[in-house]
Symmetry: C2
Subunit: 208 residues, 2 copies
């Protein structure tokens, strides 16, 4: 049996740039984990390909998948379903590869409940930095604008609680490097490498 | 009050090369954490400087420090005391800097008990790799040699359990890079950055 892979979940508030970061990440030559393509019932946009951008399926097909327990996570936005097919993730992890999901916050919480060993990365909006600067040079903005920003930021930061890492999306390149580093470091975690070492030694015992 | 720094502990079995890795690490130009110099009662070796390699003190002084609660951790090896003065660590963490300790496994367990937020890195001997290769090309070594290695490796791996990360000391450069990456990633952990974000927003509330 090959050793099981690691599940990496990238999520964050709507509009933070998850898709942009994920696309940049998978253009890197040294990325050795697999991207799990999401499934959706929305129509393909111009240039989008089935099996590359999304798996495009009918509403009936998606709902049947849900009933049959074939989705790792899913959610409905604006009358369309979006979700992660369970089969690819399971198969790939069992083959010893690490799997990367880029999903919405609701879906991430479903994965959190089902996959205790997964790594959760929260992409934080660059507006936190903007906000910080605003606070420093305060008085330049109208109070209601500042208050709106703060309210939104407080909500977004609250969502961070259920994640392992917070990566600021100030520049896509920085976010990509931080995510790559997080995967590297998680591979050094004792609870991940210990079984490997133990089974290595265990194997030896059998030939004594 | 400046935000508190992070405590990083490097340890591992005797002879694994902790000192070599630590020295190489602190030669790196981008290392921005502080090394906590150990205190010892052993005599300085040729070329060793007080306050640089160790703080060299008398047995009486060291025992007084222990009695007065001035040591973060300490142990006795071959009639000499070795330990970490608490004052420097506390002062530096409170000033918002990260502090790096390179200590023996017994000391690391004392720190683990006292500093729940610290990061523990276990340096694993390259012999684990050697062992792996031996297992693959088995039959080239005498059985008692193999068995001795395995016994030692099992003991060493057992110690790993109480650490967060396992870094293989196959090449000093690799180990150094991995440790640097671990520190970078730990700085992105939600439980470390959340208070910073919250206090940033909290500050703003005061001026509303």
């Amino acid at each position: 049996m090959p050793e099981k892979g690691m599940l990496i979940v990238l999520s964050g508030p709507s509009g933070v740039g998850k898709g942009t970061v994920r696309k940049a990440l998978f253009k890197e030559p040294d990325v050795d984990f697999k991207y799990s393509i999401s499934m959706t019932t929305r129509k393909p946009r111009k240039g989008e390909k089935n099996g590359s951008d999304y798996f495009f399926v009918s509403k009936e097909q998606f709902e049947q998948n849900i009933r049959e327990g074939k989705m790792l996570e899913y959610a409905k936005y604006v009358d369309n379903y979006y979700g992660t097919p369970l089969n690819y993730v399971q198969k790939t992890l069992n083959a010893g590869h690490d799997v990367f999901l880029e999903i919405e916050v609701n879906g991430a919480m479903q994965v959190r409940a089902n996959c205790p060993g997964a790594v959760f990365v929260f992409l934080t909006p660059p507006s936190l930095d903007v906000l910080k600067n605003r606070l420093i040079t305060r008085g330049t903005d109208k109070m209601d604008v500042i208050n709106k920003r703060i309210k939104k930021s407080v909500q977004e930061i609250g969502m961070m609680r259920n994640y392992d890492y917070a990566v600021l999306n100030d520049r896509v390149g920085n976010a990509v490097n931080n995510i790559k580093n997080i995967v590297k470091c998680e591979r050094l975690r004792v609870n991940r490498v210990m079984p490997k070492y133990l089974s290595m030694l265990g194997d030896k015992d059998h030939v004594n």
